[in-house]
């Protein structure tokens, strides 16, 4: 039995976790996990809420009843005032319908189950990590011989210097270019999502605006809006440009935003982008820099999946661009995701890299609210410094991603479904508009529903990504095996055949 629960925002936001997006993650991976808890059996329109034990709880309207603990937010007594900030999370403003499933697909145990293709995650190279950790994990964390003074006491709240050094080397490795990273410009945070939020707090005030190219990762708005109160004005990218960012579009959006009274503080680009998987080439980034200088705004370059680029074209990091710039660098800030690169989201480690000293100073202080555990940092230091492992991992991971992408896209092509050409990331961006009845968001959501109920596939509809053209869907393929891919294609065929 399936329960559909509308939840605000993200499923697997900017590669990090968000709004309970991981519940299906656990579901779909490990049947043996006991995560099918209350969180699945939620009431419609209500976020999962725990009931206290040993309270018998339930509806309590009578003010004289002792048990004032109500499981239903709607019935929370007036005395439990909670700020609008909290409220904005529990009401669905832009619902992204999320299928919690009691029926997750498993190749052998449940081959007819729902296949989860909306989780932006990569398990293709987990075995490489596991192997390394199996051999080196404990020693790297605790020290050999046991040396707990490295992990027990207070450490610098913006990250260990050794880790910053290791990250600098690691990033150069990923870029495959001699770009030098200065560790004193780094601030380590508990995940890339948190890095983006901290930067937002530093660069914009409540009510200001960032321009962000769309389609974007679902729930991205939440990251900058929820506590920092910054609005996103989408810069639409079109299929005619293969969803590449056009500076003309950026210029137009900026002017429109200004006319409407928005105070634009910056642009956030994600490279490789999610969901379209596009790389920003050198020329566009230089144009972006010019644009930002002209308008006197900031650029945040979110490169948390830089290591997951697998295309033929070269990946150009904003850091590479900045190496050649010797003035007016104060407006550029990068975000890296260590746990994302290593496909080990459980580690939760992200990096802010800013060319602005004041931003580095402020972020370092803000990082105290979002720190990385010392044992985790030690583990990362060892892992990232193991150059032969890093080499093997990056290469192997890229190959596997590329292979899976090719396989998946070829499969879709056979069904007559075209995709935008992706060069990185964990998903493909497919044009399913042929199968929708009415060429609008309603039609798209109807197709999503059909995909879920008929094809038993959960994919991300483009409207959740703020895509202006209906019919595009994000299919995440990096948690599948090749056999799974054939199953997926066969399932999608149910829809394509029905439409013929």
């Amino acid at each position: 039995m399936r329960v559909i629960v509308p939840l605000q925002g993200v499923v697997q936001g900017t590669g990090g976790l968000f709004w309970g997006s991981v519940i299906p993650c656990a579901l779909f991976y490990f049947l043996q996990l006991l995560f099918k808890t209350k969180s699945n059996k939620t009431r419609r329109h209500h976020p999962p809420s725990p009931s206290p034990s040993p309270s018998p709880s339930n509806h309590n309207h009578h003010s004289t009843l002792h048990r004032s603990l109500s499981p239903t937010p709607r019935h929370a007594t007036a005395s439990a005032y909670v700020s609008p900030r909290a409220n904005s999370i529990t009401t669905a403003t832009s619902p992204y319908y999320f299928a919690f499933s009691d029926d997750p697909y498993h190749q052998t145990l449940n081959p007819q189950g729902v296949i989860q293709l909306s989780l932006y995650q990569n398990t293709l190279s987990l075995d490489l990590i596991q192997d390394w950790i199996h051999h080196n994990g404990t020693d790297s964390m605790l020290g050999k011989p046991l040396s707990l003074s490295r992990i027990l006491p207070y450490q610098p709240l913006d990250g260990l210097v050794e880790l910053k050094l290791a990250v600098a080397r690691f990033m150069s490795h990923i870029l495959e270019k001699p770009v030098s990273f200065n560790p004193s410009r780094m601030v380590l945070t508990a995940g890339a999502t948190s890095a983006i939020e901290i930067l937002t707090f530093c660069l914009a005030d409540h009510g200001n605006t960032f321009l962000v190219p769309t389609p974007l990762s679902p729930g991205f708005d939440g990251v900058v809006k929820w506590r920092a109160g910054v609005e996103i004005v989408p810069v639409p990218c079109r299929s005619t440009d293969d969803f590449n960012l056009s500076i003309t579009s950026l210029e137009r959006t900026f002017n429109q935003a200004k006319k409407r009274g928005h105070k634009v503080r910056g642009i956030i680009i994600t490279n490789p982008s999610n969901p379209a998987g596009k790389l920003l080439n050198r020329e566009t980034q230089l144009d972006l820099l010019d644009f930002a200088r002209e308008k006197n705004i900031h650029i945040i370059s979110n490169e948390m999946f830089a290591g997951s680029s697998y295309g033929d074209e070269e990946f150009v990091s904003m850091a590479e661009i900045m190496e050649a710039e010797d003035h007016d660098r104060d407006r550029v800030h990068l975000v890296f995701g260590l746990s994302n690169e290593l496909s080990v989201p459980g580690l939760k480690a992200g990096v802010i890299y800013s060319y602005n000293d004041n931003v580095v100073a402020a972020s370092s202080k803000l990082a105290r609210f979002s720190t990385v555990s010392a044992p985790t940092q030690r583990l990362l230091i060892s892992m990232l410094s193991d150059t032969s492992f890093v080499q093997k991992f990056i290469e192997g991971n890229r190959q596997r991603l590329r292979k899976m992408y090719d396989t998946f896209v070829a499969g879709l092509k056979q069904l007559g479904i075209e995709c935008s050409s992706s060069s990185g990331g964990f998903c493909c961006w497919a044009d399913m508009s042929r199968f929708i009845c009415s060429y609008n968001e309603k039609g798209e959501l109807e197709l999503w529903d059909r995909l879920l109920n008929v094809a038993k596939i959960n994919a991300t509809p483009g409207s959740s990504c703020h895509c202006i053209e209906p019919g595009w869907f994000r299919f995440c393929f990096a948690t599948l095996t090749e056999k799974d891919v054939s199953v997926v294609m066969e399932r999608i065929r149910r829809i394509s055949d029905a439409t013929k």
Partner: protein
């Protein structure tokens, strides 16, 4: 020569340029002095001794021993393929069930089993610093106020106000009644907030108190709970030192009072806890919010996405925290060692002619140096603080950083060093006091 056009500087946010992080206050200035000239028993015996950091190193060896004897706990992410996968991919803001359960049972143990904690109400954050900020985001709007008894932990000015835009209005306590919180002080503070046009959203207490090092008596807790109920506001009880009470029977948690009241009006109460002080694991960054309010739990949980504890750390600690034999013995030994340290510093200070507040908890003592002040003012206190920093080479925390209404009080930490170092520090104080006495005698001669 042409006039250069200045490149317009790209602006930063108000948060970025604000001084609310407070790192220019004496509390932090002392740290800088320490960083520049840190004491080391062998390499720098005349350096500054850090007595401003509330860190517990006295029971370090117990944790070490445990990990040595239980190497399988440290094995990253469990044994076998499925164990690894499930933890490596795990980033659910609910947190590992085993870990939450372990935290709940540990919290029960710290309170001698006098209160029960439901693992479903536990929200994990990367440290109590994050927990306090998160709760403030949830319970109040920018411009609102939280009432906080003085003296309070200097970090609150930053943690509760900086990004949240919330104000702190002090509940003034003084030495006339050993800095206890009184109903009058609560009311006065509420009125002060109203006079400033702040909407009061809650009271935040630290129990045991930092910097006072005392537990809040049961009757006072009852009064506070009644007050917040009357005013229809929240109560946040920061109990991060609850396991550092020298004698466990002397601590009453707000959780116990709620149980006695059958959880009536409990939805306004939230407890903050951490492993940083009681278990001496500040490097692990483990904090938690325990809320009796469902909506707060749900919201806090989602908001904790910005401040998660790595699944690896959760896994590492889950077994250790669930090992009741270990935690029982650790708590007992830890309390005893802290008590001994406390005795040592109190007696040492007394022999130097300095009296302290009669404390029963924490990693510090609250020292009264007001008789030594040139002027009974904040300036006088800072002058003395500066002298102690530069001449005596001790970094201690001046009461003014803690917003204490009476000048001359200082917080002195004793658990972040060896006994030997503490002895050195006490000797320096004795010498200093002796010098002062001689000077005073010479002057009056």
């Amino acid at each position: 020569m042409g006039i250069e056009i200045e490149q317009p500087c790209v602006e930063l946010s108000n948060v970025a340029v604000s001084e609310t992080h407070g790192e220019n206050s004496p509390y932090f200035a002392g740290w800088k002095a320490y960083d520049e000239n840190p004491y080391d028993e062998f390499t720098n015996p005349s350096g500054v001794i850090q007595m401003g950091l509330a860190e517990n190193q006295v029971s370090f060896d117990l944790i070490e021993k445990y990990l040595e004897e239980h190497p399988e706990e440290a094995s990253t992410w469990g044994n076998g393929a499925s164990g690894f996968r499930e933890n490596a991919l795990f980033q659910d803001y609910h947190g590992l069930k085993t870990f939450r359960t372990a935290m709940a049972s540990f919290m029960e143990q710290v309170r001698g089993g006098r209160a029960k904690f439901d693992p479903q109400r536990i929200v994990l954050t990367a440290g109590a610093t994050a927990a306090n900020e998160l709760l403030t985001f949830i319970l109040a709007n920018p411009g609102d106020a939280l009432l906080v008894p003085t003296p309070y932990y200097p970090g609150f000015d930053r943690d509760l106000r900086w990004r949240t835009g919330v104000n702190i209005v002090p509940i003034n306590c003084d030495s006339s009644n050993n800095f206890q919180i009184t109903p009058e002080a609560l009311e006065a503070s509420y009125k002060d907030a109203e006079a400033m046009n702040f909407k009061v959203r809650g009271v935040l207490i630290t129990n045991p108190s930092n910097p006072l090092g005392i537990t809040i008596p049961r009757e006072v807790l009852e009064e506070i709970l009644d007050f917040v109920t009357r005013k229809n506001i929240h109560l946040v009880s920061d109990e991060i030192y609850s396991g550092s009470v020298f004698s466990s029977s002397e601590f009453t948690s707000v959780a116990e009072i709620l149980e006695a009241r059958e959880n009536r009006n409990a939805e306004r109460v939230h407890i903050v806890y951490s492993l940083s002080k009681d278990l001496g694991l500040p490097g692990f960054r483990v904090g938690t919010i325990y809320s009796y309010n469902d909506k707060v739990v749900t919201t806090a949980r989602r908001m904790s996405s910005f401040t998660l504890i790595s699944s690896q750390t959760q896994h590492l600690l889950a077994s250790m925290l669930s090992d009741e034999r270990f935690t029982e013995s650790y708590m007992e030994t830890n309390r005893e060692r802290l008590r001994k340290r406390y005795q040592m510093i109190i007696e040492g200070l007394r022999s130097a002619g300095i009296e302290c507040l009669n404390g029963n908890a924490g990693l510090f003592c609250w020292m009264n140096m007001s008789p030594l002040l040139e002027k009974p003012t904040r300036e006088g206190e800072l002058e003395l603080w500066n002298t102690i920093l530069l001449q005596v080479k001790l970094n201690i925390s001046p009461g003014s950083s803690c917003h204490c209404s009476e000048p001359g009080w200082f917080r002195v930490c004793f658990a972040n060093m060896s006994e030997h170092t503490l002895e050195i520090a006490l000797q320096r104080i004795r010498d200093f006091m002796a010098r002062i006495r001689t000077e005073t005698e010479t002057e009056s001669a």
